[in-house]
Amino acid sequence: MRDEVVASTDGCVKCTICEQACPVAAVTDLFPGPKYVGPQAERFRHGDSVDRSVEYCSGCGACSVVCPQGVAVAELNIRARAQIPRSRRETLRNLALGDTESVARLAGLVPGVANALLGNRAVRRVAQWLAGVHRLAPLPAFAPRRSVRSFWTKSPGEGVPVVYFPGCSTSWYEPWLGEMVVAVLERNGISAQIAAGRCCGLPAQSNGFFGLAARRVARIAKELGAPVAKGTPVLASSTSCALMLMSEAKDVLGIESDPVLRLAEATWDVSEFLLDLHRQGRLDQKGLSPISRRVYYHPPCQQRRHLSGRPALELLALIPGVEIIESTQYCCGIAGTYGLKAEKYEVAMEVGRGLFSEIADSSPEVVACDSETCRWQITHASGVPSVHPVELLYESYGLSGARRPLRQDAKRKSARR
């Protein structure tokens, strides 16, 4: 049978709606646009990849979301990018950014040393020259071992069982977010079992390592096979992990094994899950105490591809006293690891320019955003601290114990200029 993604190109009527929606094509001539590199170029691809221009697709997926004919434009482009012949240096750089789990496991052993190195301007200059990672790019800081230990020893509490999938970001960079997620769930009668710290495979996939990505997903599907078979929901607070487990494993990597398909059915974005609880009347709304804060909410591009509306926005609206400014901009530019690369950093910053100036104009105290890489980029570019929406729920519930280390934001700000 014809591959579904390739077959979807049959739907393209050249209407150009995707080209209008593409945030990258809008800011640079290096990228010819999603229709051009997607359904149009696809008809010529056979054997060697000859079109490097698809490299500048950030994979934000705006094209697939807006296409009225159901063409899987972004999925085509991710696949085509993986076919581009690469120099050894480029391959090594992409592997360092794509195999986040291995890198984090290593550096996580000595977070202080790793952070000191990554925060050092001279080291970053060398890293840009040697490894092609832009010296100013918002690389995350590794969490102190104390915070990591605190998350992994957190008890799931009493209640209806779910599995919480922490992914790389919570496992190694923001363990306090995991603690907050578990605590907020517990407050609402949900007992979250924490799954092993694994990479979902999305960074590997977007850096062209489909084999590695497929092994990552298959391992998770195997490990979570038992609870998924019992109908236990799997929750992710990282939008990219949720996207990978919900759809991209099948749509991009083409995995159609039963465990992966069942996992896709079971996976929820944490905000979508909490909103669902609320709609069932099971969310403790009364327990939300007022927070008088001006919050700018930005739904990341990956979250939009969940095709579930803006659940975090509806949740934030439940918190008394919060003043919400809703983003009108599509993308912050970072697109996972795209904006970290030396040749794409400026493009990514240009893509996010509209968002950054809108944030500056609305002078919020904090930015809420569901994706970690977007939060890092937003704070890097705007200087405004950024949090996951669940962090605000945690605060509103008056929960305590988990704490975001202050120096995290300070450090990232220092990376500017």
Binding site: R2, G11, A41, G47, D48, S53
Partner: protein
Amino acid sequence: MTQALSADVLVIGGGSTGVGVAWEATRRGLSVILAERSNLAGGTSGRFHGLLHSGGRYVVSDPRSASECAAENKALRSIAPQAIEDTGGLFVSLEGDDPAYAEGFPLACERAGVEAVAMSPAEARSAEPAVNPGIQAAFWVPDASVDVWRLLGILSAQAAEGGAKILEHHEVVSFEQEGQRVLGARLKDSATGETRWVSAQVVVNATGAWSGRVAAMAGCEVEILASRGVMVAFADRLSHLAINRCIRPSDGDIVVPIRTVSVIGTTDVAVADPDDTTVAPEEVAAMVAAADQLIPGAGSARTLRAWAGVRPLYRPPGGAGSGATRTVSRAHALVDHATQDGVEAFVTITGGKLTTLRLMAEEAVDLVVAKIGLPATPAFVEALEEKPARPAYFRLPDALAHRESVWGGDRDAVVCECEGVLRSDVVALVAAARGRIGIGDLRRSLRVGMGPCQGGFCSYRCAGLIAEAAQAAEAVTEDLVEFWKERFKGTATVSFGAQARQEILDRWLYASPLAPPGEPVALP
């Protein structure tokens, strides 16, 4: 009447046969004039599926055609590799197909000199993942696909370089005869309406399905069975190998990957009028169903266009035959009307296949040379000498690489998005033609308007570029409307599914924002 012309040979017909004869005659040092009533490949040649036959199709039913195809496949590859994509092909036997045919296939191939390599079904599936997984037997053959406009463009350009005069849009009105000798023909220029007189030592009738009519104008008899075959193009390539069904020749037995599309062919229906290229919706449905058997999923793939070509099947005088077109030989015929009808200096070369055009040309020119009295020279030698060290076959990603090479900033713009045609490509062609060019010519040379949108976007851009270079806006508008009539004719029977959505958008663009000035012209 404009000035008279004269040449050693006047070739009537600018299809693969006629262009081949003009090319061959020029190479042998003869002066040549070729007259074509429309444009090169405007008849049957431009209306086929694009297969350069390995010969495998005919090894059982018509071994002579099979042997000729096998030899000529090699010859054409060395003559015009740029027009050919070396796809390779499979013969596959499906569940329910007569197993005896597949069993006899290798021996029949060997006898006919057709290269065929037996493969296990698993090997065939790995060579072509799109093929029906239920195949029972499979053979690899050296099929290829050929872009006929590019092929005839190469041959006619070489002929023109050697002094041949190629007259498109010139139709024969009458022959000039003195006693029992043909002296030449009167041609009518369809653009100006003027007639011109061409004298020649020998006239070659290479008008394919029309050769009976043309021969009759000289008082000669050629019996042609006109056989219509319907083809359907899909919007994308469904396979990268040609896939033949390993059965006796029948309807819908071949899917050819040609440029960016796949074409399923074909039917075989006797028609009275060689200009009858109508396509019935049931024929389209039958072709799509046949494609779905060879390539599961083809049945729901987007269809782009359907068309019909009319094959010239030659029946020798007094020859037997039930009249069933499938059983008539595909082999070509060379008729010397001096011996058959007593008419001197008039020769008909007809039947055959596009794949065998060189052989047909060689035989025809041998006869011409014998009549004129020049010494014959072996034709093949020179072609072999010209053979490049490594044939530079066309490759599918070439167009993408071409587009990519000029991408970036203001370096160029894409005019035809589906086929990746650049503004510079169009401008160069318009300039070379000194503005005497239509969108249809751009389509044949560059594939403008042959992709999924069928010209919905690029036709207006091309019209603009032509107008910018040379022509009056009114003439360009007229050309644009003609182009659209032709486009919609070919999509009428495939307007369902995704193609229907495309057509609605195309018609809306045509009717409203980009409407030609003046009274709206109704489209089919």
